[in-house]
């Protein structure tokens, strides 16, 4: 399965990229970076550090540093390097975002899945620039963002959609089906310290990286009332590989952009006849709502075990 990852690396993005690279069932055609919880320069550098430490040869492109319409970045300005490495960093490719995506999509011999793990600024730009190419080559978009029944940046909104709600609305308003892995499912994917010990018996570089990221998450981050680590961005990767362990609801998805209280809120319309004409009745996106936690934990281990065999 060929994928393009867009990310704002971040510990959970790093875990997602690590698992995607570890799996022989996914071919990562390229990675683009975006503003997000951290500013673009930091998300790009973190991605470089990760790829260097994993000794992965993947084309990297630095994308957007401000949201599409709002022109104001809302993340954490005190970002630090995700990890230290003694290996040499590879610079991003010498292409701007749109040229990078054009090259990757036009050159793809089979359908591509986009895996956005950041605010959707970059993906919206690609859709605005090359709608025909995206329709032709992008089979689906499997993303981390949003949430039907909860927010985490505000009560209504999750960070990726809060940071660039117009971009998110562009993506959900386009013609490519989206699988939304939002807070509804992520909040059920808590990896406790106890449950995570099973990953520490592996020695391959991907397992080592996941161990580092989990320890880091356990040590400095308390997820409110959650008793463990949530690696949000791993959910789309696990969905790509093992969709059977997830359940969701199909419907139209829209993003609020006009309300002080609800900007970035994810609205799922599951019915054909909602009173509101704003919803396009024929769009079939999917919001993932739940997962089998035990199988999620098992499948992560399966990816690491297979990588160990091949190492």
């Amino acid at each position: 399965m060929k994928i393009l990852i867009d990310c704002d690396t971040g510990g959970d993005d790093a875990a997602a990229i690590t698992l995607a690279l570890a799996s022989s069932d996914l071919e990562v055609l390229g990675i683009s970076t975006c503003l997000g919880n951290l500013e673009l320069a930091q998300t790009t550098r973190n991605t470089q550090l990760l790829l260097a430490e994993l000794q992965a040869c993947v084309d990297l492109c630095a994308g957007s540093d401000v949201p599409l319409v709002r022109q104001k970045w809302v993340g954490n300005p005190n970002g630090k390097d995700l990890l230290e490495t003694d290996k040499e960093l590879t610079p991003p490719v010498g292409l701007d975002l749109l040229s990078f995506y054009h090259q990757k999509l036009a050159g793809a011999s089979e359908p591509v899945t986009l895996v956005p793990l950041a605010p959707l600024t970059n993906i919206a730009k690609v859709i605005l620039a090359y709608p025909d190419l995206v329709r032709e080559k992008v089979e689906r978009i499997v993303l981390m963002g949003g949430g039907i029944a909860s927010g985490n940046t505000t009560g209504a909104a999750e960070l990726n959609f809060y940071a660039d709600p117009e971009a998110a609305q562009i993506v959900f308003g386009f013609d490519v089906p989206v699988v939304l892995c939002g807070l509804d499912v992520c909040h059920k994917a808590v990896i406790t310290q106890e449950a995570g010990q099973r990953y520490f018996s592996y020695q391959n570089k991907y397992a080592k990286m996941l161990q580092y990221l989990l320890k880091r998450s356990w040590s400095y981050r308390q997820h409110g009332s959650f008793n463990g680590s949530i690696l949000y961005d791993t959910i789309p990767v696990l969905y790509l590989l093992y969709p059977q362990i997830f359940t969701g609801l199909k419907g139209t998805i829209s993003i609020e952009t006009a309300s002080a209280l609800c900007t970035g809120a994810t609205l799922l319309s599951v019915r054909k006849n909602d009173g509101d004409d704003l919803y396009d009745k024929d769009k079939q996106h999917q919001a993932i709502m739940d997962l089998d936690l035990q199988l999620y934990l098992d499948k992560i281990e399966a990816i690491l075990a297979k990588a160990e065999e091949q190492a």
Binding site: G155, G224, A258, L261
Partner: protein, 321 residues
């Protein structure tokens, strides 16, 4: 029982099929002194809701309970009703005679304020329709909120709405009033759509509610529920729902319902989210939440059904004496 002080309560409602069952449960319980009923425009226009409240009091033999003059439209968005969701009259297939008793010539919001002054820090309000009457009361009488013990509502949704993708009907019908109520610094209890769907009534439950078919209230309740159970089953659910009865259950026995402490606000601006109850929990990053609401997240469904059946039987026994 008579030496135990009863809890003073006002029922604010828009009957409404599930409002009727909610009212039955409140009338059957010995815990409450039901001071009055304040109907509001909601499931149907005010005229229907008012008449249905009067009819249901006559049916249950509780003509001593006064009904007050409620709001005939939302605060800022005109008349908003649920169309024919509750049938032509608001009581589905149940046909009751024209009421003989009449509505009092006092506004609901004035009555609420008077009762709060009479029972300071004791008065509880069970509100299962749009929050217009209560919103007006809080707006007009600023000292009112601190006199009220708690407001228990049926309304809102954490996720999927039932009227728009974002909004549950009661909140959508008057989002400005709901926003005033949630921001009034009154202890709020919210039974939103999620918990109402957990409290479904199965076909077997429906049979148990009807019992031997001789009880007047049992038959009316079963008749009100039959269409809802069929509707639920046709959509792949395990039964039908009667949201307002869940709020009554919290009033009668809160131990049957699990709650989380959250901060709730109501959207009045969005293109898509007007009427959405925004639930902020302790993991919200942009601000520290100030919990203002107990939100129902789990219910002992079997005990809820038992309570419903017991309530109906109690009313029928009283009627047969």
């Amino acid at each position: 029982m008579s030496d135990i002080k009863k809890r003073p309560v006002i029922l604010d409602c828009d009957p409404g099929e599930d409002d009727a069952v909610c009212m039955f449960m409140m009338l059957a319980s010995q815990q409450f002194e039901l001071l009055g009923i304040t109907p509001v425009c909601g499931n149907k226009t005010l005229l229907y809701c008012e008449k249905n409240a009067l009819r249901l009091l006559e049916l249950t033999g509780h003509t001593e309970i006064p009904v007050y003059k409620g709001a005939d439209r939302s605060m800022a968005r005109g008349v908003r009703t649920a169309g024919n969701v509750h049938g032509n009259t608001g009581l589905g297939p149940v046909v009751l005679p024209e009421p003989k008793i009449q509505t009092q010539d006092t506004y609901a919001w004035e009555f609420i304020y008077e009762m709060a002054k009479k029972y300071p820090h004791e008065l509880e309000i069970l509100a299962v329709g749009p929050l217009t009457n209560l919103g007006k009361a809080f707006l007009l009488f600023p000292e009112l909120p601190k006199l009220i013990k708690q407001v228990v509502i049926m309304g809102g949704a954490a996720g999927l709405g039932n009227w728009t993708a974002a909004a549950e009907f009661n909140i959508w019908a008057d989002p400005e009033a709901a926003k005033i109520v949630f921001n009034a610094k009154v202890p709020m209890v919210m039974m939103a759509l999620e918990i109402c769907f957990m409290a479904y009534v199965s076909p077997d439950d429906l049979k148990a509610i009807r019992g031997d078919g001789t009880g007047i209230i049992a038959n009316v309740t079963a008749d009100l529920l039959t269409r809802r159970v069929d509707f639920g089953l046709a959509r792949g659910a395990k039964g039908g729902i009667l949201c307002d009865a869940v709020a009554a259950t919290y009033m009668i026995d809160p131990s049957l319902i699990e709650v989380e402490e959250v901060e709730v606000d109501v959207d009045t601006q969005g293109e898509l989210t007007v009427g959405k109850t925004v639930i902020a929990r302790d993991y919200t990053e942009l601000y520290k939440i100030k919990p203002n609401t107990k939100n129902g997240i789990g219910i002992n469904r079997e005990a809820f059904i038992d309570l419903l059946i017991k309530s109906v039987k109690t009313l029928d026994e009283k009627l047969s004496h």
